[in-house]
């Protein structure tokens, strides 16, 4: 991977930027454990991606299990016709009675006929399709030939043997990168790409600020419509909005783009450092930066105040889920005074999390890809005030007297940026407040 663009962020307070308290932060020891992983597979990303890219359809080539997972993760079955479906592999396909590629052509043909509004189709691989070595990239190329130029057909894998939860989004975005239009040659840096699905409202806020800085050509990946794919090339700087985009980052760098290293835009501090990294890379003046960001920073700082009272000193543990755990713990520790006890994450990307880990106070146990039973043992011993975990664990832990926060909500709720900083804190305060209200 190319070296990230050096951003000269001094340790001392620079035009009102939050100060880093280096004494109590990083490096951290990491516990690595193997055993049962209680996490979703990458298919789950479809639940938000299909809403984000409005003319894309996600066709999983998988089993009844995959279809059932999507249905269950979509929770309250949103009965609006969703832009995803599963082509369920059956016995005939496995026994070779039907040619799988012919079957796929038939299913895709029927689907596109029914959905003429679809402009981009993702063939999404699953465990079964990987194990039987179904080559979906080849299938996508062949089908593109049939359906171009109306529909662009791409493939990626969301299988549970290769991807964990949010890595499905990574695989999807990485699949988009080779097809991004080439940026015109121009003196670098000529454009900024914000990478990672954000709620539309957050995206709009970020765009307004980045444009107000005077940054030329601010683009987002994924786009809301497939025709609005951002362009990329040497001179494109990209800024990760999500911490789980390993493969996407690699693919962008292969196209010549360079990463702006930054923490993630959670909380006032995270958002400020994130925006500032972009501002510095484009030579935005400190005055301009202050002018654009100050109203949001002040509002958010003030809004966070009341949650500080609720949350300060409360101990928190995370079960591995979305890879957002480290940035969340950093935010909760530094901005509302919570005390992280264990921070479990399915995967710790040392480079993308470098800035986060430097900010994170020392003390909590960092664990990577834990064994769920052993982590439950630790959790019962630690008795944190609140546990962030998946839906399979939440009620059982509540019934043991622990307070929990469902982690999946953090993916389905706008949490990034200034205007959402207090909302993010509220997500953790609510279960705690609720517990004190219930007396019966």
């Amino acid at each position: 991977m190319n070296a990230p663009v050096p951003t000269s962020r001094p340790a001392a307070d620079h035009d009102g930027l939050p100060q880093r308290d280096n004494e109590n932060c990083g490096p951290h020891a990491v516990l690595r454990d193997r055993g049962q992983r209680e996490v979703f597979c990458g298919l789950t990303g479809i639940v938000w991606l299909h809403r984000k890219i409005q003319d894309a359809f996600f066709l999983v080539i998988g089993s009844r299990t995959c279809a059932h997972l999507l249905q269950s993760a979509a929770g309250v079955m949103i009965f609006a016709e969703p832009r995803f479906a599963t082509a369920v592999i059956d016995e005939r396909d496995l026994a070779g009675l039907a040619d799988v590629h012919d079957e796929l052509d038939r299913v895709v043909g029927r689907l596109l006929e029914r959905r003429p509004d679809i402009r981009m189709l993702f063939l999404v691989g699953s465990c079964p399709s990987e194990v039987i070595k179904l080559d979906l990239s080849r299938a996508a190329a062949r089908l593109s030939g049939l359906h171009a130029p109306d529909v662009r057909i791409l493939a990626y894998s969301g299988s549970g043997i290769e991807t964990t939860f949010t890595q499905g989004e990574d695989a999807c975005l990485a699949a988009l990168v080779p097809g991004l239009p080439a940026a015109e040659a121009a003196p670098a840096p000529h454009s900024l790409m914000v990478v990672g699905a954000l709620a539309d409202v957050v995206e709009d806020q970020m765009r307004r600020m980045l444009v107000a800085f005077g940054i030329p050509n601010v683009q987002f990946l994924p786009p809301r419509r497939s025709r609005d794919l951002p362009s990329v090339g040497p001179g494109t700087l990209y800024l990760l909005a999500q911490p789980f985009l390993t493969d996407t980052a690699r693919a962008l760098e292969e196209r010549g783009a360079q990463r702006i290293a930054a923490p993630f835009p959670l909380g006032v501090e995270g958002t400020t450092l994130w925006l500032n990294a972009a501002a510095e890379a484009f030579g935005v003046s400190p005055e301009r930066f202050r002018e654009v960001t100050m109203p949001g920073r002040n509002r958010a700082t003030q809004a966070l105040e009341r949650y500080r009272t609720e949350l300060a000193g409360k101990r928190i543990s995370f079960f591995p889920d979305s890879q957002l755990e480290v940035p969340l713990a950093r935010f909760l520790a530094r901005e509302v005074g919570m005390v992280p006890v264990e921070i479990g994450s399915p995967y710790l990307h040392r480079q993308h999390l470098k800035e986060e880990l430097e900010l994170l106070p020392t003390g909590p146990l960092l664990s990577e890809g834990a064994d769920v039973d052993r982590q439950l043992d630790r959790c019962r011993e630690d008795r944190p005030d609140i546990v962030v975990c998946g839906l399979g664990l939440a009620n059982p832990l509540e019934s043991e007297g622990m307070t929990t926060k469902w982690s999946i909500e953090l993916l389905f709720t706008p949490i990034q940026g200034y205007e959402q900083a207090a909302d993010l804190a509220e997500l953790f305060a609510r279960p705690l407040i609720r517990r004190t209200k219930l007396v019966a």
Binding site: C41, G392, P396
Partner: protein, 536 residues
């Protein structure tokens, strides 16, 4: 390859999980990738279970393939035994592990654990959830009760005089529709008949309890979907007879009492004479007149559909206009029931087919699953849930059985509640242009949140339907109604004065009438001609 968006049933290992999670002292080691752990949330969230399902997933990854997935399975079994100390271990594979062919049964046996190990092979690419539950329960019963089976040709030792008869209740599982409350209701009913419940299984039973199943005099099969196969095996191996009647509805409950009395050799005359349910009287009270001939569509698993159709017709005076099931295993039984109601059974697990049939039939009440609830809601048709698949609201805090006499009371309330009350219906018809008291204001007793979608109703017409969902709907309905049929503006306005809960029917009847008579466009005259032709 079948294109699927929403499914009625999960994969067969989810059926195995329903059995294992219902039981106590059993642990299931499932060879599966990490994503399959999603199934835990069905139990902890939908059913609000306070414990994690007793399932260990091996969560093998791509890098384990071809090297040590078998080793991983063995260590998961050993670890699960160490940690959970179950009385028995259930082992199996999910769809992905089935493809890598590691032989969970053989691997687990090789460990030499000091407890019974029961392997279940669930072909994921052919079978589904209910089949998986049935097969799992059957394998558990066969493996655990098998060692005590009667030798071939031997007869049961008859029950000694003065000993109360005993039976097992078979079929209830975790995540079952009202299973929790049905057990209590039926146990109470049997108690009134002087019959004791020996073991309830799978729900609440331990592996040791399963080994004792043969001690009971007979079996009560509450849910044939899960328990029929096991009951048949128990009959062969222990000469235990089992019940065929499922006690849902007043009539079926009485039939059930008679059947059980026969099997147990007790006299149930007094119980049959006491009228315990309020449903028969409520259905006869004048207030219920308006229920007469309400057109209902019934869909779900076989047991609940067959029972619901009988109640609808015989106990509430509705007309069953269509029925069907997603459970192909029980297609024959459902077809027979359909014939009795003079309709054709719809056997399909493609929710688009069911939606198309509902649009085509324009029922006034849909009795279905979670899926039909959504369809009905969108179409503005009243609906009640009678069968799995279900959602969190179908696990009510209160006692709400479907079976027995109390079950009949619950059914009366839940089916009648979504329908318009009699007087209110008349008032709406008489004062249909009252600006407050009209159908789009919603039914007062249902609260404002209810999605009353007056004009979403009905729509056999192509242009109104949603782009995808409607495709089969169009083909289904265009057979009957030519798409070029048009409504004159004033006729359309007149139609809109008809309350929404009958508007769909009126539109459909009028269009059929117009097609038959070759009338086009439809005028106000056509509308009233059709009304006169069809009657209410």
């Amino acid at each position: 390859m079948q294109l699927t968006v929403w499914t009625y049933e999960g994969p067969p290992h989810v059926g195995a999980m329903r059995v294992a999670t219902g039981m106590r002292g059993l642990h299931y080691v499932l060879h599966a990738p990490q994503g399959d752990t999603y199934a835990d949330l069905l139990f902890t969230m939908i059913e609000r279970r306070t414990e994690r399902p007793p399932v260990t997933y091996t969560t093998f990854q791509a890098r384990d393939l071809g090297s040590d997935t078998a080793e991983l399975f063995k260590s998961a079994c050993a670890g699960a035994y160490e940690r959970f100390k179950p009385q028995a271990l259930l082992v199996g594979a999910s769809c992905t592990a089935e493809l890598i062919q590691d032989d969970p049964g053989g691997l687990a046996h090789a460990l030499g654990l000091p407890i019974p190990v029961v392997p279940v092979e669930l072909p994921s690419y052919q079978k589904k959830e209910n089949w998986g539950a049935s097969e799992t329960f059957y394998q558990l019963v066969r493996n655990l009760a098998g060692p005590h089976a009667l030798p071939p040709g031997a007869e049961r030792i008859p029950r000694a005089d003065g000993v109360r008869p005993r039976c097992n209740l078979l079929g209830p599982t975790a995540l079952g529709f009202r299973h929790r409350d049905d057990i209590r209701e039926i146990t109470g009913l049997l108690g009134q008949m002087g019959i004791d419940v020996h073991v309830v299984a799978p729900m609440g039973a331990t592996p040791e309890d399963l080994a004792r199943l043969g001690e009971a005099d007979f079996n009560v099969v509450l849910y044939p979907e899960t328990a029929l196969q096991a009951a048949q095996w128990l009959q062969r191996s222990y000469r235990q007879p089992f019940t065929r009647v499922v006690p849902i509805g007043v009539g079926a409950t009485r039939d059930f009492i008679r059947e059980v009395a026969g099997l147990a050799g007790v006299d149930a005359t007094a119980l049959l004479e006491a009228s315990i349910s309020r449903m028969p009287w409520y259905a006869r009270s004048v207030d219920s007149n308006y229920l007469t001939g309400k057109r209902v569509f019934v869909f779900g698993d076989a047991t609940h559909v067959i029972a619901a159709a009988r109640i609808a017709r015989d106990e509430l005076g509705f007309t069953v206009v269509g029925l069907g099931t997603y459970a192909r295993e029980f297609a024959r039984e459902v077809r027979e029931a359909a014939k009795e109601h003079g309709v054709e059974a719809l056997i399909s697990d493609d929710y688009l087919d069911i939606e198309a049939r509902i649009i085509e039939l324009q029922p006034e009440l849909v009795l279905g699953t979670q899926m039909e609830r959504h369809v009905a809601k969108r179409l503005g048709i009243a609906c009640a849930v009678i069968s799995s698949p279900i959602h969190v609201q179908d696990f009510p805090a209160r006692y709400a059985p479907q079976m027995g006499f109390e079950g009949a009371n619950v059914i009366f309330d839940t089916w009648v509640h979504p329908l318009m009350m009699g007087l209110e219906e008349h008032l709406l018809t008489m004062f249909r242009e009252d600006f407050e008291f009209n159908d789009s204001a919603g039914r007062s007793h249902l609260g404002r949140h209810l999605d009353v979608v007056p004009d979403a109703a009905p729509l056999p017409m192509a242009d109104v339907a949603e782009p995808v969902a409607a495709e089969p709907a169009q083909s289904a309905s265009t057979d009957a109604i030519p798409a070029k049929l048009v409504w004159a503006r004033d006729a359309e306005a007149e139609l809109n004065k008809i309350p929404f809960f009958v508007r769909g029917k009126a539109r459909r009847n009028t269009e059929r009438f117009a097609t038959d008579k070759g009338v086009n466009p439809i005028t106000v005259e056509t509308l009233y001609d059709a009304k006169a032709h069809f009657g209410r």
